[in-house]
């Protein structure tokens, strides 16, 4: 049982280790994380992908859950991929846009 407190910035920083291999950028700066809910040592992540039918769907979801479970203070993690609202490039950070060659929105 982990006892260390966890917070959103720590989780976001952890999720920056998970990349979308096609775009070569981490999923946080791509704007794929919609929400993070922390309940004690449980973390629920609501996220999306750049396109429905993305071939990396399961790998990225699995990677997010693995990264969360490896985080000290997290005992359980749920990752849900949703398509509404659909992802768009305006959700990316400046770093994400630079890393992927996306023009300014």
């Amino acid at each position: 049982m982990n006892t260390l407190p966890i917070d959103e910035p720590t989780i976001l920083q952890t999720l920056r280790q998970v990349i979308d291999p096609e775009l070569g950028c981490n999923i946080v700066d791509l704007g794929l994380i919609y929400s993070i809910t922390i309940t004690g040592s449980n973390v629920a992540v609501l996220m999306t992908l750049t396109t429905p039918g993305c071939p990396m769907h399961e790998s990225i979801r699995w990677g997010v859950r693995t990264a969360l479970l490896d985080l000290e203070g997290v005992d359980d993690a749920q990752v849900e991929v949703v398509w509404d609202p659909p992802w768009n490039a305006a959700m990316m950070t400046d770093f994400g846009r630079r890393a992927t060659g996306v023009g300014r929105i």
Binding site: I33, S59, V64, D70, D94
Partner: protein, 445 residues
């Protein structure tokens, strides 16, 4: 496996052209050109297209492949069938060609059944699913037509005894041969070639473009009506072209124009998709693919010229026909396939080696699995090879064909080295400890 077999066939085919440039510098109706064409079409293009469809159709259409076992069985039939066919074309043994053709057809039947059952699971029907479905129909018809042509060319001397004893199959073969005698050999061959190259390969290029180009460039289909019209017109044009080529009808230009109009609408929609893209930088894989699509312009122009009924039948016209086939298969289809291979193979390698490591260690991006520099060298040498070979074909110049095909061989070599680099990751993965990328303020989008 399909992709590796395809690449091996491409390498053998290109070396064959370098060693024997007369294949492209002389009229194409001879056994060696037909053998080489089937090596490229069945060995290279079909192998990669079938392997890619097993991977991409479930992904693009958000479903699962019906049966991997059937796909493995098909691989066996496919390899034995196409190697035997190329060998028998080279040897001009029509009887054995028919046998190997049937082996290939069994494999194709398994492929069509497998993909058709997969398509039945598609949750949301769209233009890509329609294009894949009609491509399956056209390739089935192309192989059937090919077998009928082979049946029509055999003399059945060795079946006298069987026929006398009432062999139903031999009687059927002879009736097919009788039916095929109503058509001239070159017209039937050209009609058969169009079913495969336009009906299956071009149809798939058009259909998957509507899914993959938006996916890779972060864009969207801009007009579903345009997409539907492009597929519809291409189908009507092809159906009419098949009949008019087979019957040498003067209506050929009408149906060619319809097919070209379909491709024109496809180009219009593709430009709209690219204009709306969020990802401004296009990677080399996409550049290969889009260049292949752009080559549809000269190929369509040549199709219009060749469909003209009053075109004089002289050696130069024959060379234009060679150029049309060369640019269609080695230009449009092959370049599109190479572009997509640069997407498919890294994905398969990454998925096999890194998908369970993500989140635990730093894994490479797909673009880190190969050399972009080699991709660029391969791209420019391929284009140079196409230009030099095309000019040499028009002038029936064998040294020129050899020079151009050597450039193509250089490009294929860069592809082979890059594929080798990708496959190396299966045995020597590139894993680093986790680290935090440089970034901006942490916040949810």
């Amino acid at each position: 496996m399909f992709a590796l077999i395809g690449l091996a066939a491409l390498a053998v085919g290109v070396v064959w052209l370098v060693a024997r440039p007369s294949l492209l510098a002389q009229y194409h109706y001879n056994q060696f050109v037909i053998a080489a064409t089937h090596l490229f079409v069945l060995g290279w293009i079909c192998s990669v297209v079938m392997g890619a469809m097993y991977q991409l159709v479930p992904i693009a259409l958000e479903t699962k492949l019906y049966s991997e076992t059937l796909a493995r069985w098909q691989l066996g039939f496919h390899v034995v069938g196409f190697i035997g066919m190329v060998w028998m074309f080279d040897d001009w043994n029509m009887k054995q060609l028919g046998h190997f053709g049937c082996v290939f057809a069994v494999g194709l039947g398994l492929f069509v059944y497998n993909i058709a059952r997969t398509l039945r699971r598609v949750p949301k029907w769209n233009v890509t699913a329609t294009a894949v479905t009609v491509a399956l129909f056209w390739i089935s018809l192309a192989v059937t037509a090919g077998i009928f042509i082979a049946i029509g060319k055999d003399n059945y001397d060795s079946t006298e005894g069987l026929a006398a004893s009432g062999g139903v199959f031999v009687t059927w073969l002879r009736s097919v041969a009788g039916f095929m005698s109503h058509f001239d050999a070159i017209g039937a061959m050209h009609a058969h070639a169009h079913l495969g190259s336009v009906g299956c390969f071009t149809m798939l290029i058009v259909g998957v473009s509507y899914k993959l180009i938006p996916m890779f460039t972060l864009s969207e289909v801009q007009s579903r009506h345009r997409a539907a019209w492009s597929i519809g017109l291409l189908n009507i044009g092809l159906a009419g072209s098949f009949m008019t080529i087979l019957l040498r009808s003067s209506w050929k230009p009408v149906f060619t124009m319809l097919a070209v109009a379909g491709l024109g609408i496809f180009g219009w929609e593709l430009i709209a998709i690219l204009r709306a893209r969020k990802r401004r930088t296009l990677d080399w894989g996409i550049k290969y693919f889009l260049t292949a699509v752009a080559l549809l312009l000269p190929v369509s122009a040549l199709a219009m010229v060749l469909s003209w009924p009053r075109l004089p039948l002289n050696p130069f016209t024959g060379q234009i026909e060679n150029l049309y086939g060369f640019l269609g298969l080695i230009g449009v289809v092959s370049l599109a396939i190479i572009g997509m291979l640069y997407k498919i193979i890294p994905f398969l390698v990454w998925f096999g080696r890194y998908s369970r490591q993500i989140g635990r260690v730093q894994v490479p991006a797909l673009a880190d699995l190969y050399s972009a520099r080699l991709q660029a060298i391969g791209y420019w040498s391929y284009l140079a090879g196409l230009v030099v070979t095309s000019v040499a074909i028009l002038y029936s110049n064998e040294p020129g064909v050899r020079c151009g095909c050597s450039l193509l061989a250089l490009s294929v070599a860069t592809l082979a080295v890059n594929v080798g680099a990708m496959l190396t990751h299966l045995f020597r993965p590139l894993l680093k400890p986790l680290g935090f990328p440089p970034t901006t303020v942490a916040k949810i989008a």
